[in-house]
């Protein structure tokens, strides 16, 4: 039976919130896939927040984090006319995203291995996280240099966003 037209505005609102939440989940899981992963801490620290708000702290250090709708509560998306950002709350987020230089510990001084397969193992060629080249050395990089910019600009972000919106909108009542 067709749904009564009086629910249309409410249904569209619900569908839009679903779309936004699902898109956030898709993007955050896309960022986990694209980004580095040593302990898993950085991967667990993505948050969707209103512009200007601070993200929370990392949720886990036990492997790569897998996001679902529980990480993006519906209540967050009740305000209208606001911009949302996906930001990382790890203390070393800027270093992990190759935005600033950092100080890195040689793999020789570590008692564990990264949870993600390295993309480069060898000599450190600069002070940014991803500046590691193959060859003799003990530096490890688990995501290419500038993975963050590449995710944003290279098409992966728009693909994840589109997929999330499509899935989320379609799941809403009245649009199934």
């Amino acid at each position: 039976m067709a749904r009564d037209i009086k629910f249309l505005v409410k249904d569209i609102e619900e569908a839009t919130i679903n779309a936004a939440r699902t898109a956030c989940v898709e993007i955050m899981n896309g960022l986990v896939e694209a980004g580095p992963g040593y302990s898993g801490e950085f991967s667990s620290a993505w948050y969707a927040v209103e512009q200007g708000q601070s993200p929370g702290k990392p949720r886990s250090k036990q492997g790569l984090y897998k996001y679902n709708l529980r990480n993006v509560p519906k209540t967050k998306f009740k305000s209208s006319g606001v911009w949302f950002q996906i930001v990382n709350g790890a203390d070393h987020a800027a270093e992990a995203m190759d935005l600033v230089e950092g100080r890195f510990i040689s793999q020789l001084d570590q008692d564990k291995y990264p949870i993600k397969d390295p993309v480069n193992t060898g000599r450190r060629t600069g002070a940014r996280r991803g500046e590691v080249t193959s060859g003799a050395g003990f530096a490890i990089s688990t995501a290419p240099l500038d993975w963050w910019s590449t995710y944003n600009a290279g098409g992966a972000l728009s693909n994840d966003l589109a997929r999330g919106v499509q899935q989320g909108f379609g799941k809403a009542r009245g649009f199934k």
Binding site: D98, L99, V100, E101, G102, R103, T125, G126, A127, T133, P144, L145, D146, S149, T150, Y151, N152, A153, G154, G155, A156, N159
Partner: protein
């Protein structure tokens, strides 16, 4: 797909622009080790990354690639931002010029998106003040 032609389309004009300055400023591209990090010599690092290749578009051409261009300017720390910003302007001018280039029947048609930054950083350990901009690009190989 001709990744090398795409890379050259952005690297060559950047190299020419910084080489043409007086004094010339060295530019280091992907997989080239930059000057030792403990020197105060100014230099430029350009990283070109590739995202999605051959994304379907509304045009007949599918020979295209998207990606990011990240430009970092290293100048001496503790001397203010002026020199760094002067060199950033050179880089931004090159990117703007790329967008002004007319489409031809061969070669690479290159367009950059909005430019993020500049952002600046300096760490206690490193001798450089670093200015950073990045932008997206879409390049189509024409034949």
């Amino acid at each position: 797909m001709n990744y090398q032609a795409i890379r050259a389309a952005v690297e060559n004009p950047l190299l020419s622009a910084f080489s043409g300055l007086s004094p010339a400023v060295p530019v280091y591209f992907d997989n080239i080790t930059a000057v030792p990090p403990n020197t105060t010599t100014e230099y430029v690092r350009v990283n070109v990354t590739f995202g999605i290749t051959n994304e379907p578009t509304l045009t007949s051409s599918v020979d295209n690639a998207r990606g990011a261009i990240v430009i970092r300017i290293f100048t001496e720390k503790g001397r203010g931002p002026a020199r760094n910003q002067t060199l950033l302007t050179t880089a931004v001018n090159v990117l703007e010029a790329l967008n002004d280039t007319a489409k031809t029947t061969s070669g690479v048609f290159f367009r950059v998106g909005e430019i993020n930054g500049p952002t600046f950083s300096a760490t206690e350990a490193a001798p450089h003040f670093v200015g950073r901009i990045d932008t997206s690009y879409v390049a189509t190989v024409l034949s």
